[in-house]
């Protein structure tokens, strides 16, 4: 098999195991990444919500926030894992698409 195909398969495997990035932190009771807390978490940590943070944190509303479909926050981990894999697939397709298009312009002509 050509190497590039092997790499696609490797990428596919990483996509399939990606929910580990959701399940393991939950299992080991690990919270958000440091410095990536929401406004509520921030209030618990330091006792207040910094004014600028409160304003800016709602600036952008992502269509698939935190790799979960909107309104799915309370769904069981199986559903969230499905959303996570779906997000990974969407992300991979868009990444590949954009780089392939960019590559048309940003590569040397023979």
């Amino acid at each position: 098999m050509k190497l590039i195909n092997k790499l696609w398969i490797l990428l596919g495997i990483v996509v399939v195991i990606s929910p580990l990035g959701l399940i393991l932190p939950e299992h080991f009771k690990a919270g958000s990444a440091w410095g990536e807390w929401g406004a509520d978490e921030m209030k618990e940590l330091v006792g207040y919500i910094p004014q600028g943070l409160e304003k800016l944190s709602t600036l952008w509303s992502a269509p698939i926030p935190d790799y979960a479909f909107k309104g799915w926050e309370e769904k069981p981990i199986v559903a969230l894992s499905f959303a996570y894999i779906s997000s990974a697939i969407i992300g991979v397709i868009i990444c590949v698409g954009i780089v392939l298009i960019l590559g048309k312009f940003l590569s040397k002509k023979k």
């Binding site: 190497l3 590039i4 092997k6 790499l7 696609w8 990428l11 990483v14 195991i17 990606s18 580990l20 990035g21 959701l22 393991l24 932190p25 299992h27 080991f28 009771k29 690990a30 919270g31 958000s32 990444a33 440091w34 410095g35 990536e36 921030m42 207040y48 910094p50 004014q51 600028g52 943070l53 409160e54 304003k55 800016l56 944190s57 600036l59 952008w60 509303s61 992502a62 698939i64 926030p65 935190d66 790799y67 997000s87 990974a88 992300g91 991979v92 868009i94 990444c95 590949v96 954009i98 780089v99 392939l100 960019l102 590559g103 048309k104 940003l106 590569s107 040397k108 002509k109 023979k110």
Partner: protein
């Protein structure tokens, strides 16, 4: 390491956009001259791989989470300028579509993970692997160390960006307007957790892929050999 909106003040956000603009321009120009058409699919896989590896959060039990980035790996295989473009694409999609990393902080996040990390990692790899045969263990070790050093320097700079905010912006009553943790907290935490945990994940991933490619496609490692 994805700084969200609201943690960095306007000055910091603006400065990093201003720093990244010429870097992105430079990257486009250099990649246009050096990247061959047949390397483009590999760059696309590199961007996608980085995207997914950043979703693989590794927990510190009872604490926080973090992840590898893959930027050093892409830099070793395709050069640091190409890596800058690939990782930028991954970060922009993560911010816009998935709210992972802020829009205002995009310049800073790209500086940390798409510029500092691949460049530091690339030159560490070059330095350690200099003159060693393509199939040597030294290259695998060089890749591991490069991944480890690259992500940790990126984490250090991220910590400094966070930690400067209370100095730059606070209300009359002394409350922070943006990130409330100063350098004395942000730097040791960001650096510490990457030195102890996440840096090793980056090192292992980078070294393992180089080891695999040594066996299955040594020309990939060789291809980028001379370009500095």
């Amino acid at each position: 390491m994805h700084i969200p909106d609201g943690y960095l003040g306007p000055a910091t956000c603006g400065i990093f956009y201003a720093i990244m603009l010429p870097i992105w321009t430079m990257a486009s120009k250099i990649v246009k001259k050096t990247l061959s058409v047949k390397q483009v699919p590999l760059l696309a896989i590199g961007a996608a791989f980085s995207f997914v590896i950043m979703m693989l959060n590794v927990p510190i039990p009872g604490g926080s989470t973090g992840h590898a980035v893959g930027a050093v790996l892409v830099a070793i295989l395709l050069g640091p300028w190409a890596a800058c473009i690939a990782i930028t694409v991954a970060l922009v999609i993560q911010a816009l579509l998935f709210g992972d990393g802020g829009i205002t902080a995009m310049g800073a996040n790209c500086f940390n993970m798409a510029f500092v990390m691949p460049f530091v990692g690339y030159y560490v790899y070059k330095l350690i692997s200099l003159g060693s045969p393509i199939n040597s263990n030294r290259r695998v070790i060089a890749a591991g160390i490069a991944g480890y050093v690259g992500i940790n320097i990126a984490a250090l700079i991220t910590g400094i960006e966070f930690g400067l905010q209370p100095l730059l912006h606070h209300s009359a009553s002394g409350q922070s307007l943006y990130c409330p943790y100063g350098l004395n907290v942000a730097v040791p935490v960001m650096l510490g957790e990457h030195l102890l945990i996440f840096g090793w994940v980056e090192a292992i991933v980078t070294a393992m892929v180089i080891k695999y490619l040594q066996k299955h496609s040594p020309e990939l490692i060789k291809e980028n050999e001379v370009k500095l």
